[in-house]
Every structure is written in C-alpha cells, then in structure tokens.
Symmetry: C2
Subunit: 324 residues, 2 copies
C-alpha cells in the first residue's frame, strides 16, 4: 500500500458548488459542479454534495478509503471548530448547518472546514503563486474583498481562533459606509459591488462597465483609480503590520485587472522607507477558479500531515470561540 | 546557588538613557539615568553605559555573574540580529554602532537588542497590562507612534525578521505626507508631532497646548478628534488583521489621554460585525516610563529561558535581513 495522497475538495459558493478529487501534486483527477440553491435547505444540499462525491470518486477510480479525507472551503462566516456554516446572506437556508459532522458520518472520513478565502490561500501556498512564502498574504478581489494570512503555510488565527478579515481594513476617513461597521474600509471602495455602486451614479450598469470605460471616461477612470489606491493603501498597511514575504492578488477583479492594481501597489510600496520593501514580492494568483477546490483538498492534506486522520482532533486543537 | 533571576535593562532614547537592575518579578532593584548625547560618538556613550551598569550593580549588591545578561531597548531602527543601531535621526553619531558586541565583550554576558517599542511591549506582557494576552498589540503614542505585536509573548517578525511598523498604518486618503512614504498614516495625524504641527496653524505652541484647549476651542477640538478617529481606525484595522486578545495604549499621549483615545476606539470597535469584538480588550499601559527598562531586562530573561545564556545563538536564530 502506498501512502494515501488524495482528498476530496469542496468549494461552496452562494451560486455554485464544485467538488473535486485532488492528488498530492494539486492535480484535479475528477470534478463535478452544481447549483448550490441553498434555499432548498441543507439536507437537499448535502444530498447533492454526496452525490457529486460519489460521481467524482467513480470517475477517478477511487474508493473513499483511498482518501486522506474531505476538505471544505465555504463562503464565510463558517465556524471551523464546530464545523458549521453561518452565512445567512450568501447561503440562506443553511444557517448553523453541521456540514463537517454530516459528511464525516456519511463518509467515515476526516472532514475539515474553513472559509473560502483561507482555503484558496492554502491552495496557492502549496501549488500556486505562494509557494515557499511566509508570511503570505492573499487578497481576493471580487464581488467582495476577502483575504487570508498564512504563516509557515498555516492559516493565521487571532483571539478565539478568529481568522483575519482583510476586506475591512480601514483606508479612507470619509469613505462609504460598510456593513462591517466602519466607513471607508477597503471593500467599501474596491470591491466589485463598490465599483458598481459608484458607477451607477454615472449610468454604468455594473463593475465591468466601469472597468471597460475607464480608459476614456473620466468618472469611470476616477472610480477605478480610487479602488486601486484603496488597494495600495490596504496592502501598504499589511506590509507594515504582517510584513509578508509575498502578497498574492486573486479573485475575478484581482486577476483580470492585476496589472492595474499591482502597479498602484508597487508604486506605493516603492516609496516605503520603514520596511524592507525589496523583500516583499507581489504575485498574481495562479490557480484561478480552481484555487478554492484545490485549497479545500489541501485542508485535508494538512490535517492528515499534522495529526493523522483524526479530524475531530484537528478541530479541537483550536481554542474555543466565544462568539456566533 | 539559586537560579539566576536578574538582568540589566537599558532603555536608550534620543534624550536620555536609563540603566536598571531588574529581578524576575519585574522589580527595579537599582537604576541610573544620564543624558544620551549621542553626537559625542559611540565610545563616549558606551563608557557612560558601562559606568551606569557598574553603579547599578554596586547599588543592588550584585556582580555581573549574578545576571542572566543585558537587554537593550533602543530608539529604532535597530538590527536585532547584527546587534547594531541605525538611527541617524534620534541617535546621530551612533550609526552602525555595534552595541551588542561591545557590551558582550566588556561584560562577558549575553546581550540582546530590540527597538524600544518591542521592549516596552514585552515588559507590559510580563509584568503590566498585557499579562496572559495573545495576540497582544501595544501602541505607543508619543512624539511619534510606535507599536509592537506579540504572539505568545514573543515579538512578531515578518519577512527578513522585520518587526511591524504600526505607526505607518494608512488611515486617511488625503492626510499629511509622512517620511514613511505615504500620506495619511496614523503617525502623520495622531502623533504629538502631528498634533503640534496641525495646532501651529491656529497659534498653538505644541501638542500640550492643543490638548489643553480642546475643551473650549473648536480648532483644537477638531485636531484632537481627528487624532482620536485616526487612532480608532488604525486599531480597528489591527483588530481585523491581527485580531488581538488585548490592545494596550501607552506612551505619553496614550497614557495621559487614555480615556479620550480609548473611548473613540471602543465606540468604533463596538460597531464591528465581522470580528468577535467582545473578545478584544482595551487596556492602559501599566509600567509607565519604566516599561522600556523593565522590557529591556525581559529581553534577557526571555533569551535565557529559550536558549540558556548564548546570546549569539539568540541572534543567529533569526533569519538574515537583506536590508539596511
């Protein structure tokens, strides 16, 4: 028997869910995708997930016993210790769903859950733009702004096991109000939602319209310039607090407009006098849409390496969280 | 023979230097103080330091062999690995001074060097407002703004062993230009220097004048309000990135005006929806002016606990720094 080197990765978003069998080289052996449709309730979703796992295992010619386990990256908030989902906005109908317990029972395998930004960063660390980098900051610029901090390839956690919420770094005194509780956070200025919202005042239908017009329309150009400057300021702040070896820009906007955002960041970091700026690398995410599902599988690989196949031990290794 | 539980702590600022013998309970057994006068060059300073160490040892009835070693907290930048000082602004005449090597040779004791903000935070962690807290953020609001992040009581270091530069967190898009390389960093708005500079336009002589007038002068009030909001925004950002168990406000301004700054911070954090805000405590520094020298001694206690009395090993345990 060779060492077990495959896992199921599950990437759960508000719109769609991807399930894949991934090997220890980060290659996808088989994948399945379906509409999440969380409003049908969690049992319907769980049935879809298990059906996709069966399909993927069959296609990859694997049995459940060939796996290190199952890793799940899910649109947060999630509780990685309890193994439950708490996202009434993006996954209505699944509040409090015990996805870890349910899959563990159904598949008799270790199961680990993290939010999607953390999973994607872990995927990039192992197999993408973050290899051999520590500390590693990954920012995901899309509809919202998420991010993750990895130290020695492990998800950074603060008090009560809480991961960072990078999208809510404060960058502008008088910026737009955000649901996070402050005005002018990064997400309130540079997310797809924020760009679209700023663009509507000038007749743009969505963020794509604003980006498309930015080269010849001064209002659109100003909106994108402000988003790029907010991104540069937020990552400047991370460069002065975390002092990362590498910063990865990912997500739909971060990848499609990497040159625009990374050049604003480079110009800003280039002016830094208090940190070793030449030690901080800026990179574009490499795994694209697959980062989530590959990263999810990496959660299982990491748990397996750390503690063997006891997923309960993985979860209980974290301190208790007094919130949610 | 009982375990060695005393160290010499040295707190070097641009104006004055304090040397003390400190025991393992954080008590100062004897202390000496003198004008730094760095422009005389480093050999004059070194002679003063060694003379003060002799005086302090005599007063505390200690011999050098009774010590775990010597810890130095120094106005940064310093290079904790090379053991050298690189602060042409505050300590002109000492650029590149090998203070660790010099004292190690003179005293035949392990010597450890860190910047003053890191040393003060270590002092508060062991014997002050930071006890049993991890992660711990300490912000020092004075002439400038410094700070430190401790994780499990150890100074956090990013790439190339670099510590955080919390004063240069970006908080305001269009704030004053700072020597750090960005506009509107925390220090550029909320430091004593920044408050004084903003106050001069309205006839105030210094930051004390602005604070004193803030209750009945609208310009002074607006300057302090902006400084308090900048502080709340910077610490909000740290709450969303480091997610500390405790935030300590220290330094002359942070302690004297603790109520003003901490209430702005509390009001802001109270609105947070994305982090476990009730897990984040806000505290006033407890060691006052002694934090630096007690923290400096703690550097020696920590080195002694970790590796015995090989200060060279302490320094070489850090990765090489490709800058400075």
């Amino acid at each position: 028997m060779s060492a077990i080197t495959r896992a199921i990765g599950i990437d759960i978003g508000g719109t769609k869910t991807v399930v894949a069998a991934v090997n220890a080289s980060g290659e996808i052996l088989a994948r399945a995708q379906f509409q999440t449709l969380s409003t049908r309730g969690f049992s319907a979703g769980l049935a879809d997930i298990s059906s996709a796992i069966r399909q993927v295992l069959a296609e990859a010619l694997l049995a459940a016993t060939d796996l290190t386990g199952i890793g799940i990256g899910c649109a947060g908030p999630v509780d990685p210790i309890a193994g439950t989902i708490h996202n009434p906005f993006t996954l209505p109908g699944w509040e409090g769903a015990d996805i870890v317990g349910s899959l563990r029972k159904q598949w008799n395998l270790p199961v680990r859950l993290e939010n999607d930004a953390d999973a994607a960063a872990l995927g990039e660390f192992r197999f993408g733009a973050g290899r051999n980098s520590s500390p590693l900051v990954m920012a995901t610029l899309g509809t919202g702004i998420g991010g993750a901090i990895l130290m020695d390839g492990r998800i950074y956690r603060g008090v009560a096991g809480t991961h960072a919420e990078l999208g809510h770094i404060a960058v502008a005194e008088n910026g737009p109000e955000c649901y996070c509780g402050i005005r002018g956070c990064w997400e309130s200025i540079a997310s797809g939602t924020a760009i679209a919202s700023a663009g509507r005042a000038f007749g743009f239908a969505d963020s794509h319209g604003v980006f498309a017009a930015a080269h010849n329309n001064s209002e659109a150009s100003a909106i994108i310039e402000r988003a790029a400057q907010a991104t540069a300021a937020a990552l400047w702040t991370l460069a002065h607090t975390i002092v990362p070896q590498r910063i990865i820009l990912g997500g739909g906007i971060g990848e499609e407009h990497f040159d625009r955002f990374s050049s604003a960041l480079r110009n800003q970091i280039e002016r830094a006098t208090q940190i070793p700026k030449s030690s901080i690398e800026i990179a574009k995410a490499q795994l694209g849409n697959a980062a989530g599902v590959i990263g999810a599988a990496c959660l299982s690989f990491q748990a397996h390496e750390e503690k063997g196949s006891q997923s309960a031990a993985q979860n209980s290794a974290l301190p208790p969280r007094p919130f949610r």
